[in-house]
Symmetry: C2
């Protein structure tokens, strides 16, 4: 099977056309968590994810697979990948479809190395007050099980300019294709820490001087009343049952997003976004 | 087929057990937009939707269908329905599953009359300054196609205390089972106006003295800089392509939610929730 690093699109090798080849099976097997975990690799699907991976973390991109049709539709992505000396393989639509988890494959995918950082490294890198803003903003997901929710919260944390996202060991795998897709590229934009138990996460943040704010409908404090101008972390719970009592008690403050109408609650991604944006606006206004 | 209005749970009639009966087919056909539109009815599925329908708009509930198991799990919903003299029918799990659109039926559903109000009535009911707050808050969905997004925005508008939601004729049907489900009961909490073209909606709001704020990533104004203390409507566009130029120009101001990090954008439901919550907080703080 040809597998050369082309110097330019004109030197593309013969397209991969056998959907039953070992290579295709190996890529497809990345849809399983155990395989991802063993290989330290995962699959980025679609132009948005591949573009962000190539632009922001080319060091982590192992192989880009693209159909002729998608290469014509997204020339900048292919050119960027080639400019960065990445492996770009032309594949038939059947091969691409056999590689990806998506029901509607978009013609391009990339095998990437996992990008999470250790809790220790994340804490060391956490910025204190800077020229740009007065404090650090962290988002912690505990027991979040729905891939779409987890990805949407990571996207919201990125949009709000969070410095770090921590996803606990009891949550969905951030390299799950549905999570990757719903981050809309944000997975490659900010440091992400995974696989640690919640108590270790809270202890590390506390040692780093980060105030712990539990977001929960039972909160005694209302979001607009909370001081958000110093370093803090939003600790989010499960989409159905929220945060357990012991975890709420381990935080410095339990905060609820006020409900002004008759809705019972906001969903997890909406509540997280409202909290993170309140933080972003307070941090920027305070500076 | 027994179909009596029972005075209490003890007088439940014989359960409906034939999933191929005409009644079951009639209920199931409400999953089609054309049937809903002709019948002026739709199906509320699951305990949350049925509870909110029975509590808030019992006048619009035609029939409640419940399995013995769900009736035991949700006695308050059944009792409330009986207290309000509603028809409650016990059905076998097979009948319930044949009635509903959901892959995971939750044992209870209700056929409800549609609840939308006319644009004229909505404008007449729109409150001006009240004891509770200084101005009206409206949410307008134009060209929103994804049922989950539409439902989530309606839920967010309810949580933010909006006075009215308007869904244009070019958007998804609010009585689509997926929309109903993702509103989490909010469909019954606030007036909803459907089926009007966007120009008529904007003209009506303008005549009512409501300022039109287009939410769009191209906006010249940043959300934190916009005065949100007078009556205003958030005009939201399609999830993929946003608002077309002519629609943006028809609004008084085009507002963007600032992106503090490296994300390209927020998704529609998140952007709408951040805008609506900024409004809610400004309106409450101003009062």
């Amino acid at each position: 099977m040809p597998n050369h690093r082309p110097a330019g699109p004109s030197e593309h090798q013969k397209a991969l056309t056998n959907p039953r080849s070992d290579r295709v099976k190996a890529v497809r097997s990345l849809s399983r968590r155990s395989v991802r975990s063993r290989a330290g690799e995962f699959l980025a699907e679609g132009p948005q994810a591949v573009r962000e991976a190539v632009n922001h973390r080319p060091d982590l991109v192992r192989d880009v697979y693209v159909t002729a049709e998608a290469a014509a539709r997204h020339p900048a992505i292919v050119q960027n990948a080639l400019d960065r000396d990445l492996w770009v393989h032309e594949v038939s639509p059947e091969v691409l479809a056999a590689m990806v988890d998506s029901q509607a494959p978009q013609g391009i995918a990339a095998v990437c190395s996992t990008l999470d950082v250790t809790l220790e490294a994340a804490m060391a890198a956490l910025v204190g007050p800077t020229d740009l803003r007065p404090a650090a903003l962290v988002c912690v997901l505990t027991n979040v099980r729905d891939p779409g929710n987890a990805g949407t919260v990571i996207r919201g944390a990125d949009a709000a300019g969070a410095d770090l996202v921590i996803v606990s060991d009891s949550s969905v795998d951030v390299y799950n294709p549905k999570v990757v897709r719903s981050t809309a590229g944000s997975l490659w934009h900010l440091p992400i820490c995974v696989g640690e138990p919640v108590p270790a996460i809270l202890a590390a943040l506390r040692s780093a001087g980060v105030r712990l704010l539990a977001a929960d409908g039972s909160g005694a404090s209302l979001l607009p009343d909370v001081d958000l101008t110093s370093s803090h972390a939003w600790v989010m719970g499960n989409e159905a049952w929220g945060l357990p009592a012991d975890l709420r008690e381990a935080c410095d403050e339990v905060v609820q997003v006020p409900i002004y109408g008759r809705a019972e609650s906001l969903n997890l991604a909406m509540a997280a976004t409202v909290c993170l944006y309140a933080s972003a606006q307070a941090l920027h206004a305070a500076h």
